[in-house]
């Protein structure tokens, strides 16, 4: 089994030597190390994965030891994840099926170390997809009046199912601040434009009207400001004057599903660190 440490702290001399020394002195074998120093912010970021097989510190004490010995000294924010436990992911959808099919086909093929105990929607349209994959589908129709109430009901459902993170697979409702606060940097959205261009509704129409020659898609963590959270992944495809809004929608679908799935994979693999509305994404 392996442990994965994600951390950031003010940059200082000797951190890497100290932490890698901690692992090797205790007979841990480092499998992957990635680090990065943001010389503008003077912040040190690290992801360290090591084999626990001969590690001298028992698994349940590692976080405590690390906190005491290093995190306090270096003023670190850190988290340690242990292999063998699958994070629990909820998918939110509305009416378009391309992203959820892409997510579930990977899940069904066993590509990801993840559990998907439930799907949430504001519409009944995609229940058949959930059924195909045998996953419970919960419909929460949203109106102006019931928005807050429904959000509380959704949050209860998520809590009851021990959901770790949420994937908005073209869910066409704004997430309320209460839910965002409950899942900080744990709600992944796909926006169908190359952010920060074309924030908000109907980005393909806007791209068409502006006459751009490339369209994009952006996966990001959801924050209180619409389409302004930390960007995880982006990709683009060339278009021409021949592309009408409808063909942009079609070309964009392929981008959206791939860019969303890449972000989900990075999240599941604990390869993303967030600092001040930006991400460090290790590969």
């Amino acid at each position: 089994m392996t442990a994965t440490l994600l951390l950031h702290c003010p940059d200082r001399q000797g951190i890497i030597a100290d932490i890698t020394g901690f692992i090797s002195k205790n007979r841990g074998n480092i499998i992957n190390l990635a680090q990065f120093v943001d010389h503008v912010e003077n912040v040190f970021f690290m992801r360290l994965e090591w084999d626990l097989e001969n590690f001298l510190i028992p698994k349940e004490k590692i976080t405590d030891y690390f906190e005491t010995l290093y995190a306090k000294r270096y003023d670190m924010k850190f988290k340690i994840y242990f292999g063998g436990t699958k994070p629990r992911m909820a998918i939110f959808v509305s009416k378009m099926s391309h992203c959820i099919f892409d997510l579930l086909s990977r899940y069904s093929a066993g590509e990801w170390e993840v559990e998907i105990p439930l799907i949430v929607s504001n519409h009944p349209d995609l229940e058949h997809v959930a059924k195909m994959f045998g996953i419970p589908y919960h419909v929460f129709p949203i109106t102006k009046e019931n928005r807050d109430e429904q959000q509380r009901a959704m949050m209860k459902l998520l809590a009851d199912n021990d959901i770790d993170f949420i994937v908005l697979a073209r869910y066409m409702q704004i997430i309320g601040e209460e839910m965002i606060s409950a899942y900080p940097n744990r709600i992944i959205n796909i926006h169908h434009s190359f952010l920060p261009a074309f924030v908000g509704a109907k980005p393909y129409q806007a791209a068409f009207e502006r006459g751009v020659k490339i369209i994009g898609a952006t996966s990001h963590y959801v924050t209180a400001e619409l389409d302004a959270g930390p960007i995880i992944c982006q990709d683009v495809v060339s278009i021409t004057h021949k592309d009408m809004p409808q063909t942009l929608v079609n070309k964009g679908k392929d981008l959206e599903k791939i860019v969303l799935s890449r972000a989900v994979q990075k999240h599941i693999e604990h390869k993303i660190l967030v600092y001040k509305n930006k991400t460090v994404v290790f590969n």
Copy 2:
């Protein structure tokens, strides 16, 4: 020798048959035909290149005949270009040399059917580059006070040299409306972002601050509204959290010069039609 016809008009039945019939009845051999119907605006666009060798209508009468026989009937905007005449291009620069080197190295290698009789700058810094290629370099320092006067002097210089179109190769001054009006859709700019993201100054700094994972460059015709003219060409390159503003600048340079040169080439080849702030770019 060949002639190249560029046109657009309201879409109607029979246009292609009529125009291609005109060419073939008069023994012209069509070398390239590209057409496009914008079904949203209901506009027909066409580029037609044909061999004049056996063409029955004398070269100097073609435009007149076409105007009388077709353009009026179909309410066309059109232009006919004849091979063998090189358009005359002015380059405007400031202090960065990567774009001008790229343009002039292609010119020097004979890649383009174009004349470059002069280079204009608001700074003396790149005079050595102009000298290397043997092209006159004219410095017009710009201040708040002398802006209009200098622009008039520049326009006189352009007119005296029969300049057909202008390429802003990272020229860091805003072009005045008078000059824009004098060269409609004939001033090509390179903006160092993926427009419409990061309009205005310091786009790489803005991209860094937003934390995007891809940066871009955009070539476009200059209009009165800053960075909002018809887009000709765009390209992008992936970046990561490791990229600081300075490495973005360096990576961006390669994009900028290629994206600018592609636009210049399309312009020289008469492959661009502009309609309502958007371009049709034939390939």
Copy 3:
């Protein structure tokens, strides 16, 4: 309803005028016209889509008229497709599910004008996927001994179901010449490399060993020579020294499914012409 004409013939003066004249004289409204002249081979290619609503020639006589009036005169190979009839497509799979999920999720969402009456496999592994989408799944296990016999059985099944074209969605068996001859340029394969690099088995392992910095996928029509048929579509993704054979396989999956689906879409839309082992793909 629309008709779509695909043709190629030796290039001669006046073809476009003649054919577009035929459409417009008979009150057909051209919706899309794309043509291309291969000046190396001196061959003219055309795709013409027109509205049949007011067309004076009855639908069932169009092919005959066109044959008599134009095809013979210009020595054309041509085919006319009429809207409203969905081509019938068979999918062949082995054990990997990413391509078939991508195809069927598009089919299920109604993106394509196509029928998928059956799925063929040499293994039982993906029967559950076929069941999810309610499509009959036929297993034909292949051994050295039964290869020819099984192929005849498969061909009978295809014929009984009026299959128009076949999509090999990572089907890991070689298609015999008899079947290839029965479906010329109507069997689409996805090869998991950037052809012609890494022909044959285990291209990701070969890419890893060569140390390339980009991997690709290629969709092509199947011909008698392995991985050497006319290429329809290719795409690539950057990799680094960090990518091991297994991560190449994973990154490649996303390429494969998108590149295969793009080819299927072009085929369904009648946008592909084949000439001498190369394709003309209109957009």
Copy 4:
């Protein structure tokens, strides 16, 4: 001033801790650390850049200390480069100017920490380019008869000028084994295809004949086997059926110059490690 350590060795526990400990114990400040473990070959690769300002070991003794204390123990191959010394680069060209213009315009703009004391060619054609940049141009015409003799003369010229590495900027002659042995992993070539596809002469013609939909360029170190050395960098561009061999050549030029310059930059920055005919390229 900084020092840059490049190394590889059999992977073992504790290497990172040991080496980073060596730097921090001696008051070196690590500016960049990149490492990679090839779990297939079980080899550890590292690039470490640190500030020498307060480093306790004098610059001239660092290599010796490192050899004694770490390299022997871990069976390392390593090299330490010190800032402030510019590597000396020779450019070899034939008749095409796009790559050499790209290299020299970066050099002229001061983008690279490098000296270019001379240009070698088998043709006089590009002497004017060398003159523009004020760099001596040496012509060594090659025939079957004088090949070996000329190579010896070229090698003497390189040695007399203390050349560190060679850039083949579309130099259309095969480099002899003697020269390759003298500059192991220090001769950078640009091949105008997506290797390993289209090895050898006329790759654009071959790409045209095969009907590929993407073309590429590959920069690599030269080894005794033609076009088979360790790949440094690759890039591609989409093409269509409209592209004839000549337009492929033109589109390819932009790829070639960018892909070659990227490799040169990585080489100058000491970011490339070679192991068994493959590269580790840190970013």
